[in-house]
Amino acid sequence: MGIEIRNKLARRAAEEINHGMVVNLGIGMPSLVPNHLPKNITVMFHAENGITGMGPSPIKGEEDEYLCNAGGLPVTLNTGGSYCDSAAAFAMIRKGRVDITILGSLEVSEKGDLANWIVPGKKVPGMGGAMELAQKAKKVIVLMNHCDKHGNAKIVKECTLPLTSSRCVNLIITELGVFEVTSQGLVLTELFPPYDMNKVMKYTGCDFLVSDELRRITY
């Protein structure tokens, strides 16, 4: 996925974030989200390694080896930010103080099951903080390619990969469109140009409903 499309998805995810929220971002595409927030809101970005109020990457040459995000990359601290130990960082998650987590995934089921931590026999990196974030963040937003690199659907009826957490995803944003996970199943609420319904149906591995007010995103 090119950077232009990745930025579109990040911009759409940024629409979910309001002033004052505590937000945890996964690595990769989710890290683009802060670039698309309006300037007049303050958001506390949370990192599992113990930062609340994380700011953007420092300029080259000003990196601090002891101020890094959970992925090990140098970051900065915004005004009002703070440090804590790992137990407190996860207390915020489990206690329900993290409003939104935005993460990538290998598969998502129509029920909102998330599978993003293991490919048996291939890649077994460990769950890190993904299970707690998926299970306990108030809102779980998945930002991912609609299909895997072989062209297989990643939005499926039942996940084939081991689950990170069941029934936890609220919103799925891909380059084709946006789905809400509801008690009735998936609802397609938005389409990204130039894609149409036929394309979404073709590349989605389960049935879904279509919102009466289907939005066609213009950016």
């Binding site: 113990g50 995000n69 090990g72 440090y83 998650i93 707690e132 306990k136 957490s165 069941s166």
Partner: protein
Amino acid sequence: MKNRFEKMTTLENVLKFFHDGMTLMFGGFGGVGSPPTIINGILEKGIKNLTLIGNDTGFPHIGIGQLVSQERAAKVIASHIGSNPFAGQMMHEGRLEVEFSPQGILAERIRAGGVGLPGVLSDIGIDNEIVKKGKNIIQLNGKEYLVETALTAEVSIVYAKKADEYGNLIYDKSARNTNPLVAMAGNITIAEAEEIVPLGSLDPEEIVTPGVFVDYVIPSKGVNWKWAWE
């Protein structure tokens, strides 16, 4: 500087606590906040067959990752090994036992070990076959919880920004991470400090780890690896 509590010592003097087959708990997250001088001492002493307990296995050349990539570990209890390909490779070859714990639950297991509790109750991964495998399940207030057992270790090693003569510690920004928890959970806790200061130099309101939990303090020679982003 005085040494009234006999905690301030040298790397050479603490190396006697490290032996083959021991359990070793380490502070740090992706190598940030892992004590470089102690890890280098363990490497040079040739210690092997370790059970390592900590957040992750760092990178192959960074932090505790060096012990893993130089095949000094028999078992790892961690939440993530993805940034150290050697760990995954050895796990697949059956040469490294890996016990995964969700990151915050691992932190709580370490904390439990450090606060004298036998374990914690958790609903993280309660419906996940891999997480709940082999764990007791307890009913409480009509809900099911996993019993997550406490973790302690023969020796805990941590990295601090400053330590005083008594072993009171403060940390450096996100290098704090698991260090305050790990510091409490060791039967013997050794802190490596960037700076060692006289008693009374640290603001009592700012001390993160009370020296009660710290047995020895050694001076750090600083990080001897290149960070992944450099």
